[in-house]
């Protein structure tokens, strides 16, 4: 059972890393968006391994469908055929990017493994505890959705409401910003 879990984790992790690299290094922007969708789907697989079924489904609904459609539609408005030449930045910036990402990775590993000394599967720097038997039984019966729903409407109700106001503002703001300026168009037609 545990071997199978590890196998699935390795598979998903490999697909995530390869497709995330593809999303960045593909020349054609449509190819990189398709690669991004593969990343999102495999991340939802990782969520299922982490006992987060509600998150996995939300990941597919919000990221793999919603955000991708937004990206593709904005691509239709903006990209032209010769944008494929916009592949990588100029050499100084590319080198800087590799240096920054590498340094960050080394720093993160330094912290995770506690100065490269602690290679346990549950690092001592973090407090971990196995879930209770009753919790596992509950999760098998009803999933995490009731737990998250209860938390959202009791303890975290204020952030939840603020989030809804934020989303309303974003809807209005996005519509206003992306709208073509009608005054400008009238002026252009008058001068022509």
């Amino acid at each position: 059972m545990e071997v199978l879990q590890f196998l699935f984790f390795g598979m998903f992790a490999l697909v995530i890393v390869i497709s995330a690299l593809g999303a960045i290094f593909c020349r054609n922007i449509i190819h990189s968006i398709v690669s991004l969708v593969i990343t999102f789907l495999s991340v939802s697989g990782i969520f299922i391994l982490l006992n987060a079924d509600f998150l996995a489904i939300s990941q597919i609904i919000i990221y793999a469908v919603g955000i991708t459609i937004l990206l593709v539609f904005s691509l239709m408005f903006t990209t032209t055929k010769d944008d494929n030449k916009l592949w990588l930045a100029f050499a100084p910036r590319t080198i800087l990017a590799f240096v920054v990402a590498g340094t960050l990775f080394i720093l993160l590993m330094f912290n995770i493994t506690n100065k490269f000394t602690d290679f346990n599967i549950n690092p001592k720097s973090f407090i971990t505890k196995a879930p209770k038997e009753s919790t596992i039984e509950l999760l098998k019966k009803q999933g995490t959705t009731p737990i998250i729903g209860k938390q959202l409407l009791t303890k975290y109700v204020l952030p939840f409401e603020i989030l809804s106001i934020l989303l309303l503002g974003v809807i209005i703001g996005a519509a206003v910003i992306a709208k073509k300026d009608t005054n400008e168009k009238n002026r252009a037609s008058e001068s022509a």
Partner: protein
Amino acid sequence: MELGLVHYLILVAILFCIGILGLIISRNIVKILISIEILLNAVNINFAAFANFGDLDEAKGQVFAIFIMAIAAAEIALGLAILIACYNNRHSIDIEDYTSLKS
């Protein structure tokens, strides 16, 4: 082989660094937005991992991951709206062309 917290943390570190790399390396604005999505996804995996190995009874990390998802959707909608507005001005999606603040 047993699956522990450190495997997820290493995966998240790799994914986050790929996101940072893409954020700096790309010239296309749409690709920069894609990199930001990869970054937010990495953070989401981290939250879910700590929720699994820390407090599965309350699943606080998963609640925060839901918040991050909503904020990511808001961010991408606004970012793309700004991109379209800029494109109407400049007719280019090359980040190197947006230098009018440089004196």
